[in-house]
Subunit: 129 residues, 2 copies
């Protein structure tokens, strides 16, 4: 009797099971794996998700430049993917990352450095040196 | 000489200084003040922001119902506002909250309970009892 070999293929997550907006984008929140700080929010399309999962380097879609945005490619402030999460409605992502340097283009650790308290805006952190 | 009294009015944050999308909405990420967990992401319009700041009860705009969504109003799973943050581009909000019960409509603490690991989806948390 001929031996039957069962071929096993590695599981592959299909980004098209997610819900994208009318521009084909989904919001992605980046959270620091060590400090738990929320660092930034940006957008991904299906291909940016594939690249992020394949390379382990967080890759967004730049709406202003209409191109992939491999976070830190020019600045060196890369985001190494630690965990990739999907929300209950499958229309928002949470990427847990190891952030090199500041996440914000203003050179601050997080983009959320402004608090609104008693009707006034307060700056919570300074740019990193 | 007549005495001049200087009237001081309390500072008031103007939501219209923020950048809203074409539907008049801005994404708002809710993070737990104690555990630092990212709980959910939903949307606010200018009036939902005003209500959130005035009442201290986090209020979103429900896109499906096209109405205010005072989080927890029917379920009791309210979000008490601890801090209100704006990002560098003023097009995303981070609300730090004290969450009563689960934040997710599936009864889980956070909406981000699914991880994608090695191409497979894994459930990270069970519904709360």
């Amino acid at each position: 009797m001929q031996k039957v070999f069962k071929m096993t293929t590695p599981a592959t997550f299909d980004p098209l099971t997610l819900t994208f907006n009318e521009a084909g984008l989904i919001p992605a929140i980046a959270q620091d794996a060590d400090s738990n700080e929320v660092l930034m929010m940006a957008w991904m399309n299906a291909d940016a998700i594939r690249k992020t999962l394949q390379t382990g380097r967080v890759t967004y879609w730049s709406r202003s430049r209409q191109s992939f945005w491999i976070k830190g490619e020019s600045s060196g402030h890369v985001q190494e993917l630690v965990d990739f999460r999907v929300d209950c409605d499958r229309d928002c992502l949470l990427v847990i990352v190891r952030q090199t340097g500041p996440a914000c283009h203003t050179n601050r650790r997080s983009c959320f450095y402004t608090a609104v308290r008693d009707g006034d805006e307060t700056e919570l952190m300074s740019p990193m040196i």
